[in-house]
């Protein structure tokens, strides 16, 4: 307020932002509110400004407020007005209003899905190839009982880290570790365990029915 007093200019010489008492980067909503407030203050029935202005002065002020509002509320005329202020050195470019409102976010991000899927496809293709070619895996898959250490062996041969599985499947890493070390104390209830195992096996690109059965047989849960 004090600053404003120091730099007070006659009302008719104030720019539209000063007239409405808003900053040059005010949002359209703020301009609307400021206009409403100013209008209430200067309108004919206002008690606060009663007798302060002559009728002509009041009309002049009101029409100036109206003009300021109509210019600033329209994005095109506002841009034009800002440009004229910038040109005459009354306003810096950086202080003007830019529409930073966020646009609605799409529920499905098609772009992201498109980018993701080829990579995933490539990776599972690679795994399949490794599974077919590697003698160790072929040997392991031929068994009808598989322990935790066998799963770990499969995983290391396929060059997949536990962290990667945890990341992708959202299964806690200590549970994954418990599965590989057959640490029964940490096992979740059987329903969940089966679900976790399916995710684990599917991530490695193995046949989930075969491997799941073999693992459960090892634990005696089958």
């Amino acid at each position: 307020m004090i600053l404003q007093t120091r730099t007070m200019k006659p009302f008719t010489e104030q720019n539209y932002y000063e007239v409405l008492e808003v900053s040059p980067d005010e949002l359209p909503l703020g301009i609307r509110l400021a206009y409403k407030k100013s209008f209430e203050l200067y309108q004919e029935n206002s008690i606060a400004s009663y007798s302060f202005f002559s009728e002509e002065e009041r009309q002049e002020i009101l029409s100036r407020i109206e003009q300021a509002y109509l210019t600033l509320i329209n994005p095109e005329t506002r841009k034009e007005y800002d440009q004229s202020l910038i040109a005459s050195g009354l306003l810096e470019e950086e202080r003007t209003f830019r529409d930073r409102t966020k646009k609605p976010i799409a529920i499905y991000n098609f772009q992201k899905t498109l980018l993701d899927s080829p990579a995933a496809a490539r990776r599972s293709g690679e795994l399949k190839l490794r599974i077919e070619q590697n003698p160790v895996i072929r040997d392991l898959l031929a068994r009808d009982i598989l322990g935790g250490s066998d799963l770990q062996k499969l995983r290391t041969v396929l060059d997949v880290t536990l962290e990667a599985i945890a990341e992708k499947t959202n299964i806690r890493i200590d549970i994954l570790r418990a599965i590989e070390t057959e640490n029964l104390d940490l096992f979740p209830p059987l329903v969940y365990l089966k679900g976790f195992l399916r995710s684990y096996i599917r991530y490695l690109g193995l046949d989930e029915r075969v491997v799941l059965d073999a693992y459960l047989k090892k634990l005696g849960l089958h």
Binding site: M1, I2, Q4, T5, R6, M8, K9, P10, F11, L41, S46, I47, A48, S49, Y50, S51, F52, F53, S54, E56, E57
Partner: protein, 312 residues
């Protein structure tokens, strides 16, 4: 008496009946209760009644004793009140022609006030915008305007503040230059004449740039306050802020809204009993509002330098 560093708060408001004396009395009561040595001066010379509110129905001395040279100093007209720390210079027994104070007598009173040594000196001003009222109002930069949220009262606030404004301009420019200025302003804008302060300052700037700088400094040193009295719950809560905004924006004077005092029928009872409202009804909304106002006025809330205009 040693030269004083008293804080002087003139309390005015243009219209009569808005509660200037009530607020002066209440502020004085609260300041005294807080341990400040406080003096109330009734300068509503023609229609004094601060003594009744302060609980001194028959003061032994009054301000006209000083004006009529019956006592040598203004300090000798001070009487104590029932409230400790609270003192009064009353206008109760004033001569009947005292309302029309001659210039020399007025200057004598102003000089007398400047010599008093209290923590706070509160001046209760009369209604109207006579030179006497305005000059007492301009004794300090800390003037307090009292108004009610009614058009009649607000109208008079604007009248008073403009009068103070132009009296100040006239004082700085001296009468001759002011006349030239007024003529020039009239010539340029016959419609607004000198009531348009922006135009006025612009013309001073063109005619006499040096004076214009001085004038701006003088006008900026005002630290006015506004109190809205007799505030009913259906009134617009923001009206005080809006009035201040208009004054700051269109007169370029500094003014701060310091509170709304709720209307209370019991103020009438307190005045009839000639006892302080705050003592009789301390647990009312009105009392709380008054205390909040007093808190807002005391330094610390805003830096108010404790200086005082030397009256020439």
């Amino acid at each position: 008496m040693e030269s004083s560093v008293s804080q002087i708060w003139p309390i005015g408001g243009g219209k009569g009946g808005t509660g200037k004396s009530f607020i002066t009395g209440s502020l004085g009561f609260m300041l005294a209760k807080q341990g400040y040595k406080t003096l109330l001066i009734d300068v509503d010379l023609g229609a004094a009644n601060l003594h009744t509110i302060a609980g001194v129905p028959n003061p032994s001395k009054c301000i006209s004793d000083f004006i009529n040279k019956e006592v040598a100093t203004l300090g000798e007209t001070v009487v104590p009140t029932p409230v400790p720390n609270l003192f009064l210079i009353s206008g109760a027994m004033n001569n009947l022609d005292i309302a029309n104070l001659a210039h020399e007598q007025k200057m004598k009173v102003l000089r007398g006030v400047a010599k008093l040594s209290y923590d706070y000196i509160l001046l209760d001003l009369g209604a109207g915008t006579s030179f006497n009222t305005i000059d007492f109002f301009m004794i300090s930069d800390e003037g307090i305007f009292v108004t009610t949220p009614e058009p009649t009262s607000i109208e008079n606030i604007y009248r008073l503040i403009r009068s103070v404004y132009f009296r100040k301009v006239r004082q700085v420019l001296k009468t001759y230059a002011f006349k030239a200025l007024a003529d020039e302003a009239e010539r340029r804008n016959p419609r607004a004449t000198v009531s348009n302060p922006a135009l006025l300052l612009q013309i001073v700037g063109e005619l006499d740039p040096e004076k214009s700088v001085l004038l701006r400094q003088v006008l900026e040193s005002f630290r006015f306050k506004l109190v809205l009295n007799q505030f009913r719950k259906q009134d617009n809560y923001n009206i005080g802020t809006l009035i201040c905004k208009i004054i700051e924006k269109h007169l370029a004077l500094r003014i701060r809204h310091i509170g709304n005092i709720s209307f209370d029928d019991r103020v009438h009872n307190a005045v009839c009993k000639k006892r302080p409202f705050l003592e009789l009804y301390p647990y009312t909304q009105t009392a709380l509002d008054l205390m909040e106002c007093c808190r807002m006025l005391l330094p610390g809330k805003e830096a108010c330098p404790s200086f005082q205009k030397v009256v020439e």
